[in-house]
């Protein structure tokens, strides 16, 4: 690197340009890292309440406390969703009782795009709308689609990036396991 002798040694406060540079670099890195932290397994699922498609009342995670909830972030332009969503519907229909619920968060900018997609791939579970993208931001999504399996105490127990058909079997096993766990008072 440099062949020149450094400036004087010994105790000297960190020069201002250096401090400013470090601060700028840190700020830039934080900016570059994007929004906050990606919610993972073992963490509490951030609560949200969003307008529901086809219903007057909004729907949120808190409304489903006590159930095992599968939160799926999807959009009309997300090609794996065409395969994934009918499979989620089949999974839901095959599970007895109402201890399991699917809450699908749509992030399309235009509501009409979501409705057009659902006309071609109809599902029976709840769809909520988040065109502003606040909820995916809160969950720190790194890709689309992303889904979370949340236990009856509101803790994320499984996270899926993208969609593979094997995920359905994995989900079935996880739901079976979670059904046997106790509910803590909220």
């Amino acid at each position: 690197m440099s062949s020149h002798a450094s400036n004087s040694p010994a105790a000297k406060p960190v020069p201002r340009p250096r401090r400013a540079a470090v601060a700028m670099l840190a700020a830039a890195m934080l900016l570059a890292a994007g929004i906050g932290h990606a919610v993972g397994v073992g963490e509490r699922a951030p609560d949200f309440r969003l307008p529901q498609l086809g219903k007057d009342a909004p729907l949120g995670l808190a409304d489903l406390h006590g159930k095992i909830v599968f939160v799926d972030f999807w959009a009309s332009w997300c090609s794996p969703c065409r395969e994934a969503m009918p499979q989620y519907e089949k999974l839901r229909a095959s599970l007895p009782g109402d201890g399991f619920a699917i809450l699908a968060v749509n992030v399309d900018e235009t509501r009409a795009d979501a409705e057009k997609f659902l006309a071609a791939h109809p599902v029976g579970y709840a769809i909520v709308l988040d065109p502003a993208g606040e909820v995916p931001k809160a969950y720190g999504l790194v890709g689309m689609p992303t889904s979370y399996l949340i236990d009856r105490n509101g803790v994320v127990r499984w996270r899926g990036q993208g969609f593979k058909s094997v995920d359905i079997d994995t989900l079935r096993q996880e739901i079976d396991k979670l059904t046997k766990e106790p509910v803590h008072a909220s």
Binding site: A32, G34, W77, C78, S79, P80, R82, E83, V142, G143, M144, P145, Q161, G162, F163, K164, S165, V166
Partner: protein, 393 residues
């Protein structure tokens, strides 16, 4: 009988298809759909004008290609198969002779020939559709006088949310066994090896645009000459001679800009290449993708190509001075080419029908620097094609 071997490694075709299909992190895609596409095309070169000896009707190629793309193991692997079959016929440039005023006269090969080429390529991708994946490729191409086998591997991985790195390498081994070798005193058997490596970076610039920049280096070693071409060397007509090594370096920039509000997109590509034979080239290609509603799409394209001659290119050498390498193959000369094409597509359910036509015109004047030795036999061509796709989204 003479004819050029107009076949490109199926690997190159497969490779063009292997570059990341979606821009960095658009969607983690596990399309369990199987996609299939069929293409038929006819390529015709225009008859040669000017001083010509021999049948001026040039090359004609009828080709068919079938591609199948599917997922295996619940989406963990992707498999792509490409099969190509071509039938080639027509005469081609043989050598250039000077007339009494030392002007070049293109001599074409005599009777029309027919040849077939078949090629198969396979690409296996691990974690297809995600932004981190590895693809292994293999291909084989065969025709009467030429066989090529190639293998390759390439990797795509995200560096951060907006940047994707791609890199890979490939190797090809080709065997040339010219027809009528004894009759025309040609070599009977030769081989050529090519190794290549590339690296690219792709950036998501904003919600509507992406940019990719890449570099590639190819190393060719072995028999790199065209065994059918001759050269007027003083008073003799000899087989042409090219070096047995060729290093080519190229840089490519690609830009894609969405105008979704008008159902359109702009594609801009620029490529620069330079090789150890002294040949440099520029390619600019621009396409406009316009949706017309009800599943119709129109895609016009403009392409400009310019190359500067290889050091040893000359139509002929009237007074040779011990040159070691010499070739009158127009494809090594200084010239430019401009092509316009149009593609119409219609989606019907999960099928898509497409038609296209391209007109290609080459001329010395279209080159960036149109000087240098004459390049007789520059080609004008027309290509029309039809396609059928199944399994579109």
């Amino acid at each position: 009988m003479l004819r050029p071997s107009a076949s490109l490694a199926a690997l190159l075709s497969a490779a063009a298809a292997l570059l990341p299909a979606t821009p960095a992190n658009a969607a983690d895609s596990d399309e369990a759909n199987t996609h299939a596409s069929y293409r038929f095309s006819e390529y015709d070169e225009g008859a040669l004008h000017g001083s010509v000896v021999g049948d001026p009707r040039r090359y004609r190629v009828l080709s068919q290609q079938l591609d199948v793309d599917t997922k295996l193991d619940g989406g963990a692997w992707g498999l792509k198969l490409d099969a190509t079959h071509e039938v080639m016929s027509g005469s081609s440039p043989w050598f250039v002779a000077p007339d009494a005023q030392l002007r070049p006269v293109q001599v074409l090969s005599g009777a029309t020939i027919r040849d077939h080429r078949s090629a198969l390529s396979v690409a296996l991708t691990q974690n297809p559709g995600t932004s981190a994946n590895t693809t292994y490729t293999a291909s084989y191409s065969s025709e009467r006088d030429y066989r090529a086998a190639a293998i390759g591997v390439e990797r795509s991985q995200p560096l951060d949310a907006a940047t994707t790195l791609g890199y890979g390498g490939s190797f090809s081994h080709d065997v040339i066994e010219p027809t009528d070798a004894a009759l025309y005193n040609r070599i009977t058997h030769a081989t050529k090896n090519t190794a290549s490596t590339f690296a690219s970076l792709a950036w998501v610039l904003d919600r509507d645009s992406v940019l990719q920049a890449g570099v590639q280096v190819n190393l060719g070693h072995g028999y790199l000459t065209d065994p059918y071409k001759l050269f007027t060397y003083g008073a003799d007509i000899l087989a042409e001679r090219r070096p047995d090594r060729r290093v080519e370096a190229a840089g490519l920039v690609r830009y894609r800009r969405s105008y979704a509000q008008i159902d359109a997109a702009l594609h801009l590509d620029y490529r620069y290449a330079q090789d150890s034979w002294g040949l440099t080239s520029h390619t600019i290609e621009a396409s406009w993708y316009q949706g017309l509603g009800h599943g119709w799409r129109l895609v016009p394209t403009l392409r400009w190509y310019s190359q500067s001659a290889a050091r040893f290119y000359a139509p002929f050498l009237a007074a040779p001075a011990g040159q070691r390498y010499y070739s009158s193959d127009y494809r090594l000369g200084t010239y430019g080419a401009f092509s316009t094409s149009i593609n119409i597509r219609k989606a019907i359910g999960r099928w898509e029908v497409s038609l296209g036509a391209e007109r290609y015109h080459s001329a010395k004047g279209l080159a960036l620097d149109g000087g240098g030795a004459a390049v007789p036999a520059l080609v004008d061509s027309t290509r029309v094609w039809a396609g059928l796709d199944f399994g579109i989204d």
